[in-house]
Symmetry: C2
Subunit: 177 residues, 2 copies
């Protein structure tokens, strides 16, 4: 069975959407929702704002109420009949997120066993046939075939096969029924 | 640079020693320290005792005061001049240990950056040239070369190159000075 590893933030979870709502509600900013969905936050925010955002991301509870991406649960369930599914999230920069991220996965993706969950820093450590991720930096160091999941921060990236929804993932990885 | 991945429990940390002290102090048992260092706890303890021990391992604070193995810090420091060092610990079964394990690594091995720390379930997910680990189950599913670090639960195992101390690791992996 081939191994398919999935990123968590902005692949399974709508993390960018939560970040936007934090910025619009809690930050003094002239940026609109449209601005914030059109590019990478690291290019749009001031370094001090980025530092504040990182502190918020590392607050206990930040990940608890993040929405699951449309069709993700059903598709991952179907994929697990054909692939060995792993979920790998680069969260070592945010130690206070560990428990919340684990609980979020347990709540929404309980059919992926804990044996197949990975918390890491660099995704170069992932041994897998495929990796679906939203960061080209993760895909560039990955030894298998990387698939880019469309997100605000990667819309202008080329060089990787791209999926923009879980319907796309389904079409790419599942046999025709 | 070749990549060398290190296990944490019973490789960098004297976890078995802490477990023995918990059993001798808090469990009703006739087992002696000698018995407990001669074999695997899963073979020595009653299933109910094992379940109690797993609960204790998953209590916040359990990992905080575990001792570092002799010569581990100096050797890993020296190795990091010659290898890309990763630390991978199979701790997904114990979600309450995540933060304590991270803090323990930060305290004793702060020279290994957070980018190179991995929390996982099965170590088959580790992409590395070498893995030093105390469990043959981890080494059997690993794609690179596995090195067995001697521990009470693996003394009778064969089939892997074995190291019994950090001096052994040093001799095997470091150039002669």
């Amino acid at each position: 069975m081939l191994r398919l590893t999935l990123g968590m933030d902005d692949v399974l979870a709508n993390t960018h959407e939560k970040l936007i709502s934090v910025i619009l509600n809690d930050f003094p900013t002239n940026l609109t929702e449209k601005d914030l969905t059109a590019g990478a936050l690291k290019d749009l925010l001031h370094p001090k704002q980025l530092a504040k955002l990182k502190k918020i991301i590392n607050s206990p509870g930040f990940f608890t109420d993040i929405e699951v991406k449309k069709d993700a649960i059903e598709t991952v369930k179907a994929l697990s009949g054909f692939y060995e599914i792993y979920i790998a999230t680069a969260c070592m920069e945010f130690p206070n997120s560990f428990k919340d991220k684990f609980d979020w996965l347990l709540k929404h993706f309980s059919f992926v066993p804990w044996t197949n969950i990975v918390f890491c820093g660099y995704k170069t450590i992932i041994q897998s046939d495929y990796l679906i991720d939203d960061h080209t930096s993760n895909l560039q160091v990955f030894k298998g075939e990387g698939i880019l999941f469309t997100a605000a921060h990667n819309v202008r990236e080329t060089g990787f096969r791209r999926v923009s929804s879980w319907k796309d993932v389904s079409e790419l990885f599942l046999p025709i029924r």
